[in-house]
Amino acid sequence: MFINLFLELKKAQVRVSVKEYLTLVEAMDRGLAQFSVDEFYYLSRATLVKDERHLDRFDRVFGRVFKGLEGGTALNELLVQIPEAWLKKLVERYLTEEEKAKIQSLGGWDKLMETLRERLAEQKGRHQGGNKWIGTAGTSPFGAHGYNPEGVRIGQDKSRHRRAVKVWDQREYKNLDDQVVIGTRNIKLALRRLRKFARQGAPDVLDLPGTIRSTAHNGGYLDLQLVPERRNTVKVLLFMDAGGSMDDWIRICEELFSAARSEFKHLEYFYFHNCVYESVWRDNRRRHVERLPTWDVIHTYGPDYKLIFVGDASMSPYEIVTPGGSVEHWNAEPGEIWMRRLLQHYEHAAWLNPVREDYWNYTPSIGLLGKLMENRMYPLTLGGLDRAMRELNT
């Protein structure tokens, strides 16, 4: 019955299964959504979509499959014929209340459709602005991103003025689509490798072999032995390069960072600029006010923490090897020494570099830091992460 919707959803890579389709049919059979497309839309959405990132895709597919089911069929036929380039939003035009008030409606729905047909026949090219032709940001009743009280919205991703009629055409869930987060999820997969089961914490699970042993030692009287439960106890110190040449990579870094957050029980994060010197900071916005001596970091967190640097390591070599080389302040000791101190204290360390691996040779400072890291520098890709995690786990 709705097999078309199901197949289209599959094609749009919304993860639907036969089971969900059958649930939908069952729900329809029980009379849940009977006489309105809206109800059916809500019901099928609740049944078939299980991830808010797919809601937008669902809306699009639903609109495509059931277009013309309610309201102006003529419009929907026309929709197909309108070249998309017209509708690309190039201009955002904001009208004042008075301007809006001045605009006159054209008449009822039929009249509107009729005029649209006429205009479409007359019009030959892309149009923008103005108050008659179909295009973007104008005050004609047709097109997108403009304002007319009785407007027909064509190809606009969101209701600007909340005057349009169709629900699923509003695509309210657009910003939840997963094209943005896909990086995070990949990285998450790789970070799982870091999970290591270790027994730490309060003893709250009965240790049966231990109990038997110690009961026997105890002359048959019960002596309960408890052990701590297995928990994910990977401890990580994350050092992230902020600012300067890293600005391009900050988005990737933040994805990695947000992925890392949920994966570890103990995760401390610090920011540095280009190279680690005598102090780091936790809050990027107050970096000049609240600095934390690197010595304190070393003294606070034991050698069982694993060290991950994220940075492009692209800078002048002086910033690493000479005192006073930092671009931001006067550093008494070169970055090299601070790197060595950290690496000496923390046995497990890796450097993740967002720069493509085959470009590393062109930047001397990458080679320098790579050598300091004893070749434990990996590209910020899934494969590189895999290698880095394997290194950290040894």
């Binding site: 089971k19 649930t23 049944t47 299980k50 309210e172 999820r185 019960l222 309960l224």
Partner: protein, 282 residues
């Protein structure tokens, strides 16, 4: 049975449809959404409006699926055996019922809330697949099968901290509670504060949505925070005029502690207020 929203819970049409689908077909309903959009309270409202008992199961990071079914208190039995107690001979004395068991044997159709399922271990939802699907489970110690008298109405909330397995999702209805728009929000405020002045609501909502729009804000205030804030405003008898943000002096809304929970956000607002004042002077 049909859920229509309650006096103090404003439910949108799509939410109603999802809830009614779950009630009719007795499949679990998975609710996601921004914090403070009323995910947890929904189960209580469904229970109240249907007159059904509510069984709440709050999940923590240490919760295991087995805890919801039953627990066998072997340590207590071991201890009793050492002391020579009579009850040690019946293993049933040491089976502790879980929330799911309670829901299955309930006299009337209950509403079972599994709150924040994403807090638990990643395997947790998988361990409950069969139990939620067939609404029965087996007690190995006593060799009996507990079967649900009435299939309970199961409401599951998640904050998206972990991804849920596909097999689990297939068995649920899903609804994502969108942040309410201005009209819905006004309706929500109306239900909670029936006698509040129209002017105050208008001004407060404007301020509230403006605060949410401020770029770079760390934690956007949610519905429950708006309600708290309004409660404070009413209690303190703050006039609507005091909320007008056009005056530079009061850019930080009065009693902001109810809206801004992050000290970085308060700083942000102070900075904005400072900038605006400086602009006003030149």
């Amino acid at each position: 049975m049909r859920f229509q929203g309650t006096k103090i819970y404003v439910a949108t049409e799509d939410l109603l449809m999802a809830v009614n689908a779950a009630i009719t077909l007795r499949r679990p309903l998975l609710i996601k959404g921004e914090p403070g959009t009323g995910k947890t309270i929904l189960a209580a409202e469904i229970a109240q409006s249907l007159g059904a008992p509510l069984i709440e199961w709050h999940i923590k990071s240490t919760t295991k699926a087995q805890h919801g079914l039953y627990e066998y208190d072997a340590v207590a039995r071991l201890r009793d055996s050492q002391l020579g107690e009579a009850r040690v001979h019946d293993i049933r004395n040491y089976i502790v019922r879980g929330k799911l068991w309670d829901a299955f044997v309930s006299e009337r159709v209950p509403v079972l809330l599994i709150d924040e399922i994403d807090k638990a271990d990643i395997e947790f939802p998988n361990d409950l697949l069969l139990e939620l699907d067939r609404m029965e489970f087996h007690v190995y110690e006593t060799k009996e099968t507990i079967k649900a008298r009435h299939r309970p109405i199961v409401v599951i909330t998640s904050n998206n901290e972990k991804e849920l397995p596909d097999a689990f999702l297939r068995r649920c209805f899903f609804h994502y509670i969108r942040f309410p728009d201005r009209d819905t929000m006004e309706a929500i405020v109306r239900v909670h504060f029936p006698d509040i002045q129209k002017k105050l609501i208008n001004q407060a909502l404007t301020t509230f949505f403006e605060v949410r729009e401020v770029p770079g804000i760390k934690k956007k205030p949610s519905t429950s925070e708006l309600l708290d804030w309004l409660k404070l405003l009413v209690a303190e008898d703050v006039p609507a005029e005091a909320l007008k943000t056009s005056e530079a002096k009061s850019l930080i809304p009065p009693l902001h502690g109810a809206l801004l929970k992050h000290e970085a956000d308060v700083h942000l607002f102070e900075r904005l207020a400072f900038l605006q004042r400086r602009e006003g002077r030149t």
